[in-house]
């Protein structure tokens, strides 16, 4: 499992979630945050990684469909089992990274 790279599966969803949560986050920062989130998911314990990537595939397919980002926004705002847990993980990773590295960030992700 260590050799399975999650970037292709995880980064589109992480990217879109950041657009929903932190729409004013500069593009270069968004890419840096997405890279960090993917790296952390790559290093999850193997059983956890299997489960997370299974859910990630479902969401990856979902956002590829028309209106996918809107559905992602709805899921991100609700405590949905499994899918919601995955988004919760991504959100916690990205928020922690953004404010640890750029503490002056505004709540919308813009430079305060």
């Amino acid at each position: 499992m260590r050799s399975v790279r999650s970037h292709l599966i995880v980064s589109p969803v992480a990217h879109d979630l950041l657009l929903i949560d932190l729409p004013a986050l500069p593009v270069d920062r968004r890419h840096e945050v997405v890279t960090f989130a993917c790296r952390r998911i790559d290093h999850l314990p193997t059983p956890t990684k299997v489960g997370v990537l299974a859910v990630a595939v479902v969401l990856r397919c979902l956002i590829a469909a028309p209106g996918g980002r809107r559905v992602l926004g709805l899921l991100a705002a609700r405590p949905v089992p499994l899918l919601g847990e995955y988004l919760r993980l991504l959100r916690s990773l990205t928020a922690a990274y953004v404010w640890e590295h750029w503490p002056a960030t505004a709540p919308d992700g813009g430079r305060a």
Binding site: H43, P45, T46, P47, R88, A95, E100, P103, A106
Partner: protein, 496 residues
């Protein structure tokens, strides 16, 4: 200081090295380092294997994501599955959890020791003897109160408890301070500063970046350990005795991978915690320190304290209700994160699965645990408001912001344990010690039931979660068991 000693697996020795040691210690945290120093200073030939690397203090920022990358397993993103799942962290570096925790110290409570002795049928187990061992640990690690004024976040806890008339105290830390130093100028007396250098000075060998894949058994004896080094080489260690000290998750996982059966990995106990972020009118945040006050009014069921609160962790505490809490993140300098920890009735398990590098960890909260978490979060919110917080942001999905006591009813109504961010940093009891073979994985001295030379000497041995920070208890137990091992070796006897 940097990693002491010479790496016994240093490149160039041979392609697939084989090493001999009288005693192999697997893991270099509170249990492993304590075991190593006792045995090495008694003249035993000791080899310590550590899966993580040696990281000097100051190399990484405490409580940062960078520290998690370097010193935690899986970057700190580890979880026990359940409803809710319980996030946990494990140190993975020389010194283990002692390098990354808050350094707060509690003695093993006497009533807990008595209960363990009775319930688990632990023999030759004298709480007074344990108290003497705790004295030694405290001297070795410079355990004492923090000098100077506490941080503003810690003072807020004390103030809130004082106003409510709740029992509170300041927890000593294992920190060394120069004369006249302030609270934030201490040097953590972790294992890389204390027992590991002492063990190496006494002749122990320490190898970092070395994962033990399995221990080969032959009948009732452990024969050798098969290891993988960070550079990909495989190796083998032959020994007379082996002490497994990888912590409450990795120790049972290794034993299971090695074919050891019995009560291994089925009794995981933790202190589940829920948290909130509290915003005050004044600047309160200290990104590099943790509060030293704890509130024990409802102990041992419930304890309140403060968490690391750098801006990233404040943001993290708000993410469960990001849609409405996000605007508060701009006030992170006026915010601090606090926790409510419970003594749980629930239990979990650690299970190795063939083909997977890591075990599956589960934890199931009991009904009363869920109720205790709810009441704990409500009382913690009351404590923060009483301390002067203008708003409290509880960490569960659907939580309302709490501005005054009247809002606590709304918070209680919205509470659901399944929606909460539950986490723990105290894991234990996966190879509980005692003579009751129906419930215990190791005997009263840490020797795994059914084996002659296979020992456990870490948090896995505690029969249950002690209700306080377990590290002091782990170290006192490790001292006791290592010294009994030495005495038995000298007498040619084996107890239990």
């Amino acid at each position: 200081m940097s990693a002491p000693g010479t790496d016994p697996f240093a490149a160039g020795t041979r392609s697939d090295p084989v090493i001999d040691a009288e005693v192999l210690v697997i893991g270099s945290g509170a249990g492993g380092a304590t075991t190593a120093v006792v045995l090495a200073e008694a003249g035993v030939d000791v080899l310590v294997l550590e899966e993580g690397t040696w990281v000097d203090q100051g190399e990484v920022t405490p409580y940062s994501l960078d520290q998690m990358d370097h010193q935690y397993r899986s970057g700190g993103v580890t979880v026990a599955f359940g409803l809710p799942s319980v996030a946990y962290t494990e140190g993975r570096c020389a010194g283990g959890g002692t390098e990354v925790n808050s350094g707060l110290y509690r003695r093993p409570p006497v009533d807990v020791l008595e209960r363990w002795r009775h319930d688990a049928r632990i023999v030759d187990f004298d709480p007074d003897h344990l108290a003497g061992l705790a004295d030694r640990v405290e001297a070795d690690l410079s355990v004492g109160p923090v000098p100077g004024a506490p941080t503003a976040a810690s003072e807020a806890l004390r103030r809130g408890a004082e106003r409510l008339g709740w029992i509170h105290d300041e927890i000593p830390r294992w920190m060394a301070y120069a004369p006249g130093a302030n609270a934030d100028e201490g040097v953590r007396q972790s294992m890389t500063r204390t027992y590991l250098p002492r063990a190496v000075a006494a002749g122990a060998r320490l190898a970092t970046g070395c994962r033990v894949d399995r221990i080969e058994m032959q009948g009732r004896r452990a024969r050798r350990a098969w290891v993988t080094l960070d550079d990909g080489r495989r190796g083998c260690v032959r020994f007379r005795h082996v002490f497994v000290c990888g912590g409450a998750i990795q120790t049972p996982a290794l034993l299971q991978r090695s074919g050891v059966r019995g009560n291994i990995g089925s009794n995981l106990a933790v202190h589940p915690t829920v948290k909130l972020a509290a915003r005050f009118p004044e600047h309160i945040n200290d990104p590099t320190e943790v509060p030293v006050h704890q509130v024990k009014e409802f102990a041992p069921d419930l304890s309140f304290g403060g968490s690391a609160s750098n801006p990233g962790l404040v943001a993290l505490a708000l993410t469960d209700q990001w849609a409405t809490f996000a605007p508060a993140v701009r006030d992170w300098e006026r915010m601090s994160v606090y926790y409510a920890a419970i003594t749980s009735e629930g239990r979990g398990s650690v299970r190795s699965i063939p083909g997977f590098r890591d075990p599956v960890v589960t934890y199931r909260l009991s009904g009363s645990d869920r109720e205790l978490l709810r009441s704990g979060l409500a009382r913690l919110a009351l404590l923060a408001l009483t301390a002067g917080a203008d708003t409290v942001f509880p960490s569960f999905r659907g939580a309302p912001a709490v501005h005054d006591r009247a809002d606590l009813a709304d918070m209680n109504a919205a509470w659901s344990a399944a929606r909460a961010s539950v986490m723990t940093v105290h894991l234990c009891s996966t190879v509980p010690m005692g003579e009751d073979r129906a419930t215990c994985g190791a005997n009263s001295f840490g020797r795994v039931h059914g084996y002659r030379n296979l020992w456990v000497n870490d948090a896995s041995l505690l029969p249950s979660a002690p209700g306080v920070n377990p590290q002091g208890t782990v170290m006192a137990f490790a001292l006791r068991n290592a010294e009994i091992f030495l005495a038995d070796e000298a007498n040619g006897a084996t107890r239990g």
